[in-house]
């Protein structure tokens, strides 16, 4: 009997593609023979915008890259500029930064968990994830006034100091979250159907994963003991006790478990940071005339010079964003605007490995493997 390959177009509008991504699948019945990824539907030219805006004005645009974890994006960009201009950041500002970064890691992984389980067909976990996320977002709302697009980091520090009653509320959140993680694990981890769907699906071994440019939790799920926070410690991470969560199984389930472990690890970091929060400035006073505006009637205490010109040079910094290695390559030509901003987004590079993972599997496996890579289309298309 003569058979024909089925060309199936998954996306750009499809419930499981987390946005506007398109898979061109060549299928043999339900088995995927070849997968081509078409993207760019959300391309907004962020890198070109970076050349048009001043260093400070670009911060709100970094929020819109990976809109689920805006704070690490803010931080990665700000860190690149600080390294370029050699700015010292006060200790309290670094503590607040790490606090917000780790809180954002929890938020990101909650959404990851929810959307992964939703993609597998169980509808409960996503609402539980969003329930806890809402509490974290309220913390952010208290801190910086926005719930998703924070633009809270400033070059040399942070925008505002911790509000009154923030630390007790954070402690409540940590306590609550610990109980909820137990709920998630009871619902998901041992569930036989979940294991059937996740184990030995989307296997990629360590060497291949590195070669395909995977980073972050997806790579740690393949057994590479690596974490930029450990390897190239930045901010106050050297002083904090935490471990990189690694799993050796290389499959979708391992990638899921790594993220669940990371949530617990982030809670651990949050507790340490909240306990040892030092007093001091929240934005640097040393260079470029950056000074806190004393006696200002407004709650907004920071003041940044309108003309900020870092020296000529170029820098590449990498940070450990929730989705993987987030790097900013910033080139300065000595004017108020960056000459070139290159964003190395984790989602884009993790997605390279997807066709390798799923060839020979079925559509449901594509969705399971795709869910565990954890991408955001704003980050892929930039």
């Amino acid at each position: 009997m003569e058979t024909d390959e089925l060309l199936l177009n998954m996306g750009p509008v499809h419930p499981a593609t987390h946005g506007v991504l398109r898979f061109k699948l060549r299928m043999d019945g339900e088995i995927i023979r070849d997968c081509e990824i078409v993207m760019g539907y959300l391309h907004r030219g962020t890198e070109k915008l970076g050349e048009m805006k001043t260093y400070l004005q670009f911060i709100p645009y970094t929020d819109r890259l990976d809109y689920l974890s805006a704070m690490p994006n803010n931080y990665a960009y700000v860190k690149a500029v600080e390294e370029l201009a050699d700015i010292e950041v006060p200790l309290r500002a670094e503590y607040i930064r790490v606090l917000t970064l780790e809180l954002n890691r929890i938020i990101n992984h909650l959404v990851f968990m929810g959307s992964l389980i939703l993609d597998l067909g169980a509808n409960t976990a996503i609402m539980w994830g969003f329930r806890e996320r809402e509490k974290a977002l309220q913390l952010y709302e208290m801190l910086c006034g926005a719930r998703m697009t924070f633009s809270y980091m400033r070059i040399g520090g942070v925008r505002e100091d911790l509000p009154e009653g923030f630390i007790p509320k954070l402690n409540d959140f940590i306590k609550d979250m610990e109980k909820r993680i137990v709920d998630y694990e009871q619902l998901i981890n041992g569930n036989e159907i979940f294991l059937l769907r996740m184990k030995n699906i989307g296997v990629i071994n360590a060497d291949e994963a590195i070669n395909y440019g995977m980073t972050g939790p997806s790579l740690r799920g393949s057994g590479v003991n690596y974490d930029i926070r450990k390897l190239e410690p930045y901010s106050i991470y050297p002083d904090i006790d935490f471990k990189a969560c690694v799993r050796k199984e290389c499959d979708s389930y391992a990638r899921y478990l790594v993220r669940m472990d990371e949530m617990k690890e982030s809670l651990h970091i949050l507790r340490q940071v909240a306990d040892t929060m030092p007093a001091g400035d929240i934005i640097t006073t040393q260079k470029y005339g950056i000074a806190p505006m004393t006696g200002a009637p407004s709650a907004v205490m920071t003041y940044f010079p309108r003309i900020f010109t870092p020296p000529v040079g170029e820098v590449y910094t990498r940070t450990e964003a929730p989705k993987g290695e987030l790097g900013f390559y910033v080139v300065s030509d000595g004017t108020t605007k960056p000459y070139r901003v290159k964003i190395r987004s984790p989602s884009f590079c993790n997605l390279v490995a997807l066709p390798k993972m799923i060839v020979g599997l079925k559509i449901p496996d594509l969705i399971a493997a795709f869910g565990t890579i954890d991408i955001v289309l704003g980050d892929v298309d930039r």
């Binding site: 004005q57 911060i59 409960t124 208290m142 801190l143 697009t149 509000p163 294991l195 059937l196 907004v300």
Partner: protein, 138 residues
């Protein structure tokens, strides 16, 4: 048989069923958390970055906010013989850079978040809609 016992012991599903049952009957601090939005609203944090408002007495119309805005949201217009900013909220990123940049601390962002409207023109908030007068403590 080993495969069956390994994969179909159903213990994991039982655990999940118990957790969901606890949620159905709200056992052990698992309350309903959503609010009936249009009828019931959540309390906003005091720092919430919503619609702008400009202190009528403090604003000097210097235009620094216009320069600092990354998206070209702000335009300085003449109103009642003085210069005030006009916000095109359709383009606003709600980043708060104008608030930071204002030398007189005249711009505030708080409150209003229900900004949906039927036309793009009505999203342009001129001085007549954003000015407020600060109450002076006697």
């Amino acid at each position: 048989m080993a495969w069956i016992s390994k994969n179909w012991a159903m213990t994991g599903i039982m655990k999940g069923l118990i957790v969901t049952l606890k949620h159905i009957f709200h056992i052990g601090n698992r309350p309903l958390v959503t609010v009936q939005y249009p009828y019931e609203k959540m309390k906003l944090a005091p720092r919430f970055r919503g619609r702008h408002s400009v202190d009528q007495d403090a604003c000097i119309g210097c235009g620094i906010c216009e320069v600092s805005c990354p998206n070209g949201t702000i335009r300085i217009v003449k109103y009642n013989g003085r210069w005030f900013p006009e916000f095109n909220l359709g383009m606003c990123l709600f980043c708060g850079l104008c608030v930071d940049a204002c030398p007189m601390n005249a711009i505030k962002m708080n409150g209003g978040y229900e900004l949906a409207n039927y036309s793009r023109e009505s999203l342009v908030y001129g001085p007549e809609r954003i000015l407020f007068k600060k109450e002076v403590n006697k």
